[in-house]
Each structure stands twice: as structure tokens, then as C-alpha cells.
Symmetry: C2
Subunit: 356 residues, 2 copies
């Protein structure tokens, strides 16, 4: 029976990507050696890294004004590296607080700049995306979490301001078109729409880096990695290889525009059922619903166990909600096929019929 | 034809480890999903991480005084994290400069402490390990690079001092027995004797951390990762899995004592040929020769190309020396079988006979 992988992250990857990764773990490119045991300076690995970078450039039509880096440490490391690299201690940066990860980003940025909270939806347990807030002049950048994996909300319209946007796109990068020119820095842990946990994608406008007063440790300075094509030290080669394969898969399937259509179709299907099925309800404002992570509850939580059992019987995995929200969360990243969402919808209908 | 993998790093792994990694990339533990696409909070991944930690504890007979962490960023990130976590800015730390990586460690440590150079072999292009140097009182720690991958030297005797030792063991950890109680911190990039590039092993005495004045970014504070069992954020699961498998392989093959015997046998074989073959000579002091990375040259470098051709014909890969030393480097990590060294020796003998 096919398993339907709704995990929030690490998350579903295309079958063809996993198959090629497995092959490379045994032998790569006829070398007689595994990709896991060859030098990061070898021509084969350099080619993988160059291709991974090029795929990112192609997917977002990036100009040479931007550097594309494959770092480590997850998005959590970018929380402080962003401020460390883009602001001086006495300078102001702007943050919109839309959930768990935004709040962590603000905390870390405060160690390296004066992080100003521009807006927050905390008072309603992050069930919506703040809009219409003022952005003061003179901020180094404005930071947004584009998609909130825990709470199931997603930024649909990008704030207009003079400052460049900085965005944690860990859970929705490459899921839709974005106005790249508004952004000074985009970062994403790989384990959702990018590739394999272990690398962190950083897209940064080159003119913004190397301008700070502080003495940054070499490994934390974007300039180091720009100058060395992400190979100043040994990079996480296998994670970057899987990333390269996954980005190629996105390109081969029509790029971000096609992913956007595919993701909207899946999300419409699930949200349609959530709204029409009398047993269920969504947990966020409808206008701010994420196409990547749908959060919902059973109105009668006595039915939770039965629903989870039915899901398990249908091969649905990873549907339990984050502990801070409860209920259920269905993550539907790029690689998820429509039939997985259809299976979930049919289980929801089955539960409705059983309690009609 | 079998390939003989002498790459310095990323480097050879046991065949059985790569085979199991490939299987996990397709499906893990009968889940119907790949290990690459399941949550780091799932029971399967938690078990992998616990096992990896336990294997490190077993290999070094570690007491509960030590924490075992799987971080990211490579040994290069530990260059600053060691000083950042273990010393205050006005405090002194001691460093022995034995090569490229030591020099980088000193540079980064100076950003967070007063890093005192205790000894250096730089004046002889790092061809030996300094000995008999004074260690002043009052240092927070004394830092050593246990094995110098680039130059082919290895610390054989550990300096006696009151301060705890801190060691970059990236290229010889688990290759031999060590007096663990002398160490306050041991770190190693995974891509040699530990496992797969993408994780960094950190073994740290718990009483040394959390004592500093400075405000450390959450992700850079060892305390964060100690408290969360290396899963504060998404860890590089696949790299840690390969690491777990490789550590289990070491245990199943007799542990570090057996590795030490195996490595000494291989190194004796190669150094014996280097010393007896009139065409070759070693590049380091004999007493300080590394069992992991043997560096050597052809006395007549007009023969270099012919030697490299013969190596290629015999399936020998990764034998070219580091650009800062030239000549040749044969890396013989734990997973290398004796027959690979025998093959290299036979090529060296063949070259000798051709020029007799």
C-alpha cells in the first residue's frame, strides 16, 4: 500500500530523487566509488554544486546581483547570521512576528541589531498574518517568515517598504512565484521544498554583505562562502546532491509557476473539505491559509483517535498537529501528488458518513 | 577492478555502511518511506541519534561528565565555537600551531579569547610536531590538532598540563586509543573516520560549558544542544545515520584498539616502502609520521606523471598531495583494507624496477 507522507519536515521528496540518491550512495557516475566517499574538490562534486546553484538561479531568474550559497546550521542559524552580516549593533532591523520561528528570529537578531517588532499576531495564537502595519524609515531590512509551518499561515502579499526584505522561506520556497527583486536575503532549511536536511539555502544580494563594522568569525561571514562557492570547508555534499536532484525535478515539472498551480489545486481540495465537512474546522483566518501546511481540528476532539486510526489504515503519515496548536496538520509540499490529498479527503468524508 | 580510495576527505567508508545507507535512502525500517523524508521527531530518527551517541560513548568509554553532540558547520565552526563557549574575551587560551588547520583555529579563537601560541613548526613547513614547550599556568585550555591531514604529521604524546586539552581530531578520531580524561573538548568533522560529511562530532566536558559572560547566539551555545540532544532544530539526519552505521562498524571490528593495530599495520607497510625504495622519500620527521595520512615525494619529480599513471591503472584514487606540500599523500583511514596499501606498495616497487 502506498504511504501518503504528510510530515511537516523533514518531508516528502520525489521518488525519482530518492532513487537516484540511493544509487549515488553505492556508486557515483561510474567512478567505482560512492558519492559519500569522494573529495569535495573532485570535478564530480564541483559539478554537482555548480548545478545546484544554477538550478536555484533558473528557478528564481536570479541576476548576478545575488549570491546563492549552500551552508549548514539550518534556518535557525540564519536567525543570527542575517543580523550579524547585514546590520551593525546600533542599527535597527524590522521584524514581523507571525509564529514560533519569527519569535526565535527576533530574539537572535536582537543580539546583533536593534530588532524592532513591526507587527505581531501572537495575541490570537498566530492564526493570521498582520497587514497594514507601518514600516518606519531607516531599517536595515524587514524580516518576514513567509510561511508558518506550525500555525498554517502564509504571507500572500509582500509589504511595500524601502528596506530590502529578508525572509525565512524554509517551508514554502519554490512553491510559488515571488517578486525576487524585493528581497535582500532569502534563506531556507533544505528539509522541505529544497532537498535533504543538512544544508541551508541562502540567497543574498551581494551589495548588502561585507559592510559591517564587527569582526565576524570566518565561517559566519557570508563573504567567506561567496568567495569560495560554498566550499570554504567541506560542504554537506550528499545533502547538496539531493538538493540538486530535487531542484532539477522542479524545473523538469515546469518550475515554480507550475508548482504554484499544483499546490493551489491540492490546497483547494483539502480546504474545501475542511470547510464543507461539518466535523472539521480550520484554525487560521481563511485569507492567510497556507498552501503548504493546512491546520485543522475536529470540532469534537473525542473523534481524534478514530480519525488518526482511519488515517493510519489509509497509509497517511505525519498528520498529527504541532504540540503548540494541537489537532491536525497536513503538509503538502511540492513533491506530494494530488492522490495523497484525495486519500486524506476520502478519510475525512468516511468519518463524516460514519457520524452522520 | 576494485578502486582503492586514498582520498583525504571526504574519504573511504566501509562498503557495508554505504550499502545500508543506500537502502535507507529508498525505504527505512519497513515504514514505506525513505529515511530522507521522515520527521526528526519520529521514533526511528530519535533511536538513530541515541544509538550514534551511545556508540561514541562506548568507543571512548565516556563517563556522564561528557556530552556527545552532533552539530553542523564542520571543524572550521568549532575553531570559534570552542573559544566562544569555553573562554571569556580577556582570558588566555593556548594553541600549538602544527599546520593549516591549527593556524585557522588560532585566528578564530583570537576573536573570543587571547589565544597564546605555545609552539609552532611553521618555520619548517610543519614537517614535525613541537615537543617540550612550556605551558604557562592559567590557560582556559590547550588546543592541539591531533593529526595534520595536509602535512602528514600526528601527535603521538599528549602534553602534560593542568589545563584541559581541546583537540581537533577530524582526521584521526577513533583511529587509536586516547586518554580521554585529559580532554575538555574533542571535535571532528565527520567526513573521515566518523561518517558522512554534514555533521560534526563534539565531545565536551559538561562542567566547562555555560560559564561564560558573553551572550552567545542560541545555535552556537553548546548548552542548547546538550539540553536538546542535538535536536534543537532539524539535525542532518542522513549524515548522522551514516555516522551511526560507521561507528557500529568500528565497534563490530574490535573498537579503537583494533583500529589502532589495523592502522599501524597499514602505515608500517607503506612507510617501510617509502624508506626502502630509493625513488621515494617521506616529507616529515619519522617520529611524527601520521598513521592516517602518509606524505611523500619522488626524489626525481620528472617521474611524478608516470607514477600517477601507474596508480590510475591500478585503481588507486586520491593520491595527489595537497597543493601546499606537493608530491603525494596516501590517506589510510579506518575503513581502508590492507590490500589497498599493498596495491600502492606494489606500484611503487614496479616504478623502482622500471628505473633500476
Amino acid at each position: 500500500m502506498k504511504k501518503h507522507n504528510f510530515f511537516a519536515g523533514p518531508a516528502i521528496l520525489p521518488q525519482s530523487v530518492m532513487k537516484k540518491a540511493a544509487e549515488a550512495a553505492v556508486e557515483y557516475n561510474g567512478l567505482g566509488l560512492s558519492l559519500m566517499e569522494i573529495s569535495h574538490r573532485s570535478a564530480d562534486v564541483v559539478e554537482i554544486m555548480n548545478n545546484a546553484e544554477q538550478h536555484v538561479r533558473d528557478l528564481f531568474n536570479l541576476s548576478d546581483d545575488y549570491a546563492v550559497l549552500f551552508l549548514t546550521g539550518g534556518a535557525s542559524s540564519q536567525f543570527y547570521m542575517a543580523a550579524m552580516n547585514l546590520a551593525d549593533s546600533q542599527e535597527k532591523t524590522g521584524y514581523v512576528d507571525t509564529g514560533t520561528w519569527s519569535a526565535k528570529a527576533i530574539k537572535e537578531a536582537n543580539k546583533f541589531s536593534e530588532a524592532v517588532e513591526l507587527a505581531s499576531s501572537k495575541e490570537k495564537n498566530y492564526t493570521y498574518i498582520p497587514k497594514g502595519y507601518d514600516v518606519p524609515q531607516g531599517l536595515n531590512y524587514v524580516h518576514l517568515t513567509s510561511n508558518n509551518t506550525v500555525f498554517g499561515t502564509q504571507t500572500k502579499e509582500w509589504v511595500n517598504c524601502d528596506a530590502p526584505l529578508v525572509s525565512d522561506m524554509s517551508s514554502d520556497i519554490f512553491s510559488r512565484e515571488i517578486p525576487v527583486e524585493k528581497f535582500g536575503l532569502i534563506y531556507a532549511g533544505a528539509q522541505k521544498n529544497v532537498g535533504l536536511a543538512g544544508t541551508t539555502l541562502v540567497i543574498v544580494r551581494k551589495d548588502l554583505v561585507g559592510q559591517r563594522q564587527r569582526d565576524i568569525p570566518t565561517m559566519l561571514d557570508y563573504t567567506t562562502h561567496i568567495n569560495k562557492n560554498s566550499a570554504f570547508n567541506t560542504p554537506p555534499v550528499f545533502s547538496i546532491y539531493v538538493t540538486m536532484l530535487n531542484l532539477k525535478w522542479i524545473i523538469d515539472h515546469g518550475g515554480v509557476k507550475a508548482m504554484e498551480e499544483r499546490n493551489e489545486e491540492k490546497a483547494s481540495l483539502l480546504y474545501g473539505e475542511i470547510d464543507s465537512n461539518p466535523l472539521f474546522e480550520g484554525t487560521t483566518d481563511i485569507a492567510d491559509r497556507s498552501t503548504m501546511n493546512a491546520t485543522f481540528v475536529l470540532k469534537d476532539n473525542n473523534l481524534d483517535e478514530q480519525f488518526l486510526s482511519l488515517c493510519a489504515e489509509a497509509g497517511i503519515m505525519g498528520i498529527k498537529g504541532h504540540r503548540s496548536v494541537g489537532g491536525f496538520r497536513a503538509s503538502m509540499y511540492n513533491a506530494m501528488e494530488k492522490d495523497s490529498v484525495e486519500t486524506l479527503v476520502s478519510v475525512m468524508q468516511h468519518l463524516k458518513n460514519a457520524h452522520a
